[in-house]
Amino acid sequence: MKTSVTRIWIIAVNTVREAIRNKLLYTLLFFSVAIIGTAVLIASLSYVEGERIIQDIGLAAIRLFSVGIAIFVGIGLIHGEVDRRTIYTILSKPVSRAEFLLGKFLGLLLTVWLQVILMTVAFVIVTSATGSRIDSGHAAALFLTAMELMVIVALATLFSAFTTPLLAALFTLGVYTLGHLSRDMLALARQAEVEGVKVAATWLYRLLPDLESFNLTIQAVHGLTISPAEIWLPMLYAVGYAIALLFVASFIFQRRDLK
């Protein structure tokens, strides 16, 4: 068990090392920081509530680009291994496929979290330069963004465990979209006439990741009160969901021929 954890950790660290030398990562990072910076310009178009707009845009950019990094860099990282056969040498070492996949997942997640931290630094610099308030609400929102990313990275891991990178990216984007829609779908289906629609929407809501539960942007920006349950319930949900996804991912990956 201990050695297993060690191996997962070794693969994770190596994944981070490989990822942080990828130019794509810096391109995305550059754009996100640029957008956080231009938020000041955009906000100046409005004669009021500019500070709020800067925060809205900043938090949106952090979420958008970290999801982008998770999907595009992440799927490239996992799939590239199979595609370019780096996995052959790794699996010839005493490493199980599940360990490999978990290591990749962890490395990717750490990479994405690292990006979130860097973007957050840019965000804090820009917002405090414009003199607006940053408090625990923002920390909560960013923390839940990190939790959402855990689910998305797990999704990307799952999809790249059995399909091509392009399809994996599309699937992940698709589930990301549906995951943000599932609450609305549920609400709409409640008014539906047909019973089947209601049942289908309810099950979709239960099965799809409920990504809206990780969205505290508005609460943070407006300084609304955030109850502890609004943080720890989504956190546990994210952990549970990611573990389930990784289980399925390793199950599939273990049975796969690596051609």
């Binding site: 178009l45 409005s46 845009i57 942007t217």
Partner: protein, 326 residues
């Protein structure tokens, strides 16, 4: 060498042609497409994929752009702004200013005002401690809709909230006593001017205040004229008689132009007696207010009321805006 030159020329030609073609394409933005691009608020909030706050900002900036420059505010623009603010406040109902932005600009038709009021009510629901939303609602009810009782209720609510100005209870009393007049309007307008950040809206309010100022001066001259009639047993021939012997009632006439008017813009207006109705008027406006309120607004308000009463059924707002939050 010639080959290189020809290539360079070809490149230049391509760049120029592309630029020419681009110049032919109208730089239409979503804002120019008007209503067509404003989504249904429910659709917008579903499709925002968690980027509600940023999307709200996007539509908010569209709204700000729509009244930028010297755009004339029309009822149609009011409808457009109403939709935009509806989307903004559906996506992020905790925004603050857009509610009053709607109140300031949605004034060109009864429908506009009622839409503004619905938005204000959503604002009130999400900012229960903000007196200004109640205040703007009260103003709309008093000034545009002539619903003094509702206005009094709104101001009462406002007066109970933190930071509300202390004169609000007096305003409520006046509204309740059915003596609402230019003084109520003036109080409202002074507050609005203090609160509003929009330059052009402030100018509008200032205009209304100017009209009220001239009306107040004209009423003062009316009282002097009555005194003159009592003393002299006859009416004045011109306003200047109020200064002259044998009955110098006034030492000087008030300025016939608004105080806020810079001297450079003075039109040399004078006080005169309108031959049509024998009333004292400033040539600056050329007419007196028949009513307590700035004439334009009041006539319009009366017209709306007439229209409303002309219809059998009581007015129902243009459907579509239902506030799930409240």
């Amino acid at each position: 060498m010639i080959g290189k030159f020809a290539l360079l020329m070809a490149l230049m030609a391509t760049v120029c042609a592309t630029g020419f073609i681009h110049a032919r394409m109208p730089p239409t933005t979503n804002a120019d497409r008007g209503d067509a691009f404003v989504p249904d608020p429910a659709v917008a909030s579903v499709l925002s994929l968690g980027f509600d706050a940023a999307l709200a900002d996007y539509y908010w900036l569209q709204a700000v752009q729509a009244i930028g420059g010297d755009t004339r505010i029309t009822a149609e623009l009011g409808v457009h702004l109403g939709k935009l603010i509806d989307v903004v406040t559906t996506l992020d109902p905790w925004v603050d200013h857009p509610y009053r932005f709607a109140a300031v600009w949605l004034t060109e038709s009864e429908e506009n005002v009622r839409q503004a009021n619905r938005l204000l009510e959503r604002g009130i629901a999400h900012h229960p401690n903000e007196w200004r939303n109640w205040f703007y609602l009260g103003f709309n009810q008093f000034y545009y809709l002539l619903e003094n009782e509702q206005a009094a209720h709104s101001l009462e609510q406002a007066s109970r909230l933190p930071k509300a100005p202390r004169y609000l209870p007096r305003l409520v009393a006046r509204l309740r006593s059915q003596t609402a007049d230019i003084l109520v309007a003036e109080t409202f307008l002074r507050e609005l001017i203090r609160d509003t950040e929009e330059e052009s809206a402030r100018a509008e309010y200032q205009n209304a205040l100017d009209e009220i100022e001239i009306e107040k001066k004209a009423r003062f001259l009316d009282r002097a004229r009555e005194a003159f009639i009592k003393l002299a047993g006859r009416d004045i021939m011109s306003v200047d008689e109020l200064l002259a012997e044998p009955h110098p009632l006034l030492s000087a006439l008030p300025s016939p132009e608004p105080e806020s008017l810079p001297a450079a813009l003075s039109r040399g207006s004078v006080w005169e007696i309108d031959p049509a109705n024998e009333r004292i008027v400033s040539s600056y406006y050329g007419a007196r207010y028949e009513l307590h309120f700035p004439s334009r607004e009041h006539q319009r308000a009366e017209q709306w009321r007439a229209e409303r009463e002309g219809r059998d059924s009581p007015p129902s707002g243009p459907g579509g805006l239902d506030d799930g939050e409240s």
